[in-house]
Each structure stands twice: as C-alpha cells, then as structure tokens.
C-alpha cells in the first residue's frame, strides 16, 4: 500500500489530504472537506488533469486577445500541446462567453470556450 499526501486544488480552500493507493487503485482519502476532494485525489493519483486557461488572438475586437478556458480539465501532459494549437488560433469578433473556439483540442474530447466577450 502506498500513501500519498496531496493538496486538493479543486477549489481555493486547498484541503490537505492523505490518499492510500493499493495496486494503482485509490482505496481511501482523508482530509477532504467535500466530495470533490475525494474525486480529485482519485484522479490525481491515476491520471492527473488540469484546467487550462489562456488567451487567443482576436481580429477586430475591443482588445487584441480574448480569454479562453478548457470546458473540462485536460490531461496534464497535454497542456503544452494544447497551448501550441491555441497560439496559432485567431478568432473574428464578436465573441460571446461560452462560444466554442476549438473543438476537441488535441483529441482530448474537450472543447476550448471563450470566457469573455470581445
């Protein structure tokens, strides 16, 4: 049995948790304040994911860039690949919050959506 100390990053409370892992399966989690913490610990110990936020260039907008996020967290090891794709994207204004900017980025099954208007 392996024991891992981790900090939940699912919300800014940052609960300190202890996860016990047996044969690649998380068997117990303590220290979490809410169920999201348990879920985070399970994912983090098996296939870590992170929310990705950045900006993409805009043509004809109020500002030169518009902020975007991954609609769901992307696999941690794919963050830089996703950034490469997003650095090449140019969208045309107007953009609304929630507009899909890139569909299924890097075959993750996850969309990149706008988080502000422009």
């Amino acid at each position: 049995m392996e024991v891992r100390e981790l900090t939940c990053v699912a919300c800014p409370m940052g609960c300190q948790m202890t996860a016990s892992i047996d044969n690649g399966v998380v068997v117990s989690v303590t220290g979490n304040t809410c169920p999201r913490g348990k879920k985070y610990a399970e994912t983090e110990c098996t296939h870590p994911v992170r929310p990705l936020t950045t900006t993409v260039k805009v043509d004809g907008g109020k500002h030169p860039v518009v902020p975007v996020k991954s609609a769901d967290a992307v696999p941690k090891e794919k963050m830089f690949d996703c950034m490469k794709v997003l650095n090449e994207v140019v969208v045309k204004a107007p953009v609304k919050i929630g507009d899909v900017i890139v569909e299924n980025i890097c075959d993750t099954g996850i969309n990149i959506v706008a988080t502000n208007i422009c």
Partner: protein, 419 residues
C-alpha cells in the same frame, strides 16, 4: 447637484454585489461609479479559473464571474457611470466625481459604499539596490499586458514575492513558453494559496526559494539579471549566499494595499494591520452612513467571500437608507492575539439583533494541528481544531447570538491560536 440614495464607489465584484443587495432590499436610486471602462474590477484580467466555487458551485474564470453580476446589474435600474473617477467625499456625504461627458459632478448620497479594491505594492515600497532598467514590473501589470493587451512581457523571468498574482503569472508565463527561473519569498512561508503553489509552481518544477530576496538588479536599458540572497531570521541578507540569475524580467508580487485615499480624506478610522477601515458587523465605518467592503476593507484571496461581505454592506446601507437601522446601545471590540494578525469586523454593534456574527481573520505564521479559540473575560466561547492555518488563507468563524449577551461597552472578544 445629483441626488442618490446610495452611491457605490468602485464597480468590481464588491461594488456590484453591494449595489444589487441594496436594490433587492428596496433602495430606489443607486449609482455605481467606476473609473475603468467596464464593470468587473480586477476580475477582468484574472483569466484563470477558481472563482465562484463557493458562491455559484461552479469553477469560473474571473471575467465569467464578473459577467454574472454585470448581467444582473444591467437588468435593474441601477445607474452605472464608467470612466468615472471619484475624487473626493465630503463629511456630509457628497461624492465628487469626474468624467468626460459630465465633467465635474457633485453627487449627494444618503449612504455610500466604498468598494475601491486594492493595488499592488509598487517597487518603491521595497528598496532593491542597482540600476533602474526596463523589465521590472508588478505581477499585476504583467497580467494585464498578457491577458488584456495580448503580449508577453518577458522570456526569462524571476519573481520576487509569492503572492497569488505572482504564482498565477509564473504558470501563465511558463505556458506561453517563457522560462520562470525562480520565485523568491522573503518570509519562511509563502503568501499565496497552497493550491497555487501546487498548480503553478510544483507542476512546472519552478523553484520556490523561501527566505530569499533580490539584492541587486543588473542591466542598463533592460534587465540582464538579478542577484538573490538568503536572508536570516531578521530578514537581513546573509553575506556569501549571493546567487546571480540572468533574466530579462523581474516581476514583483510583494503584496496588496487597500486603496484608501478617499476613506482617509473623509476622516474614516483605518486599521493599522489591514490598511482598511475599522467597521462593525454591518461593515459600517465610524462615519455614519459610509460602509466598506471587498479588498478596500481587507485583502481577500477569494472573490466568493468578497461577494458575501459586499452583500452584508449592501444590506447595512439599505437598512440605514430606509430608516430600519437599529442603533447600537454600545459596541464591543474584537481583537486577534497569540498568532492572529487581524480580525474583521473590528467592532460589534450591540443593537439587540439576534443574528450570528461572522468574524474573518488571518494568522501571522503557519500553524499545523492548532486550535482556534475565542475567549471573553478568560472564558472560551468557541474552539475548533484546524489541520492547517496559513497567513495566505483567510479563515472565518461564526459567533452565535447567545454568546454575545451581557457584554458591556468596550469589552473585548479575543481570537487566538493555540498549539
């Protein structure tokens, strides 16, 4: 002269939530003055997610969180003046503001909510010897460059201070292809949220050098490098520990200061530790009818708590405007001791209310497995075990109305940490 029941100074999350709450409570004429071109405050440049989990149960980015409130404000008849700077407030509650269309305005207000937020400590607040080349900037300025103006402010970066903005920018710059060589923190602990250390530094193997500071900046026109040194227990650089790091950018994330010039000019009493006003549980200052909330009152790490606090202030202002305010028979004080740096509110108005009182506080050092205690005349009225307490994370406790009986004028409630 323009006349409003309520004038809110600042259109960030605090100002918007206070105005919306006052509207909901039945206040008729409300005006928000915002010096920027849009409502939203600092959230507009905070494009990372992590906002709203407590309040909306969703993880939103800063602009998305702000947009929810902007939409609500637009649905009401609350007047909004953007590109409008409030210059002064007089002792009889007249707000002096200026913008291009209206020129100089005098706005008389029954009540005022101060929601001006905070600003970053500039370089002048910390003295670093060496040249004054380009490439030295606060982390917040760098954030605005990257997230709103759309350009990367550097390629090789050293960050001084481990406040949240600095940590967030370390990740942002790294994702954009820059190399963040080190984050130096003068104190033996970080000033930021633990989650940000994990997600922004550990994820990318960026070294966090605790008890380190920048002792020299090199470069003529542009930064070429910085020297960092280890500091001793008195925060003085230790000779012989110098390390030179080549870089083109030095970002400062050395803390935030509530923006209280206006409060000072109207004679509002400020708390030396928070840098914000001294308030009671309704967030009313010592100047009757003037309330304060959000980062102008004390620096918050979570916008969700800003929203809650602003609603308290908005409701307090509404009660005052609508003549429903219960006048206090007397006031008692709250005070942080033994490891607790500050408590907000600093005073509790004893007006016969049966409502519980929520106290926010921050500790001055890291504690593990400690107990938070509230005492009155030596008797413990509240105690709770905490796995971890850190200066970077604001805590709160709720005092029940029955524990607030039978005090007398000037009595103290002490909040402390044991263990």
């Amino acid at each position: 002269m323009l006349k409003y029941d309520l004038v809110v100074v600042g259109g960030g999350p605090a100002g918007m939530a206070a105005a919306l709450k006052a509207k909901e409570c039945g206040v008729e004429k409300i005006l928000i003055c915002e010096r920027d071109e849009t409502l939203g405050g600092i959230l507009e440049q905070c494009i990372h997610t992590g906002f709203g989990l407590h309040y909306f149960g969703e993880e939103l980015s800063g602009p998305e969180y702000a947009a929810r409130f902007i939409e609500q404000v637009e649905k009401t008849d609350i007047d909004v003046k953007v590109n409008t700077m409030v210059l002064d407030i007089t002792t009889n509650n007249v707000v002096i503001a200026i913008n291009k269309q209206d020129g100089l305005m005098e706005i008389s207000a029954t009540a005022i909510v101060l929601a001006m937020g905070c600003r970053e400590r500039p370089r002048g607040a910390i003295s670093i010897p060496g040249t004054r080349p380009a490439g030295v900037m606060t982390a917040g300025t760098a954030q605005r460059f990257a997230n709103i103006d759309g350009y990367l402010p550097g390629k090789e970066v050293v960050i001084l201070g481990s406040g949240d903005i600095g940590l967030i920018m370390a990740r942002r710059m790294t994702l954009e292809g820059a190399k963040v060589k080190a984050v130096c923190e003068l104190m033996p602990y970080s000033g930021g949220l633990t989650r940000n250390i994990v997600q922004c530094l550990d994820d990318f193997d960026i070294p966090l050098k605790l008890s380190h500071t920048v002792t020299e900046i090199r470069g003529k026109d542009r930064v070429e490098g910085v020297t960092i040194s280890k500091v001793d227990g008195n925060l003085k650089p230790i000779p012989g520990t110098e390390e030179y790091i080549p870089c083109d950018t030095l970002m400062l994330s050395v803390g935030l200061l509530p923006e209280n010039e206006l409060s000072r000019s109207v004679g509002i009493r400020l708390d030396k530790v928070t840098g914000g006003a001294v308030v009671d549980q309704y967030r009313e200052t010592n100047h009757e009818g003037i309330f304060a909330c959000g980062n102008v009152l004390h620096v918050h790490d979570l916008v969700d708590f800003v929203t809650q606090e602003a609603q308290t202030a908005g409701e307090g202002a509404a009660n005052y405007i609508l003549g429903k305010k219960e006048y206090a028979d007397y006031r008692i004080h709250t005070k942080g001791i033994n490891g607790v740096r500050y408590v907000v509110p600093q005073r509790i108005s004893m007006d016969g209310s049966e409502e519980p009182v929520k106290l926010y506080f921050r500790v001055g050092q890291v504690f593990t497995n400690a107990t938070v205690k509230v005492t009155r005349n030596g008797n413990v009225i509240y105690a709770k075990k905490k796995r971890k307490l850190a200066p970077g994370e604001m805590e709160n406790i709720v005092i029940k109305p029955e524990d607030l009986q039978d005090f007398s004028e000037g009595d103290y409630l002490f909040i402390e940490v044991e263990g």
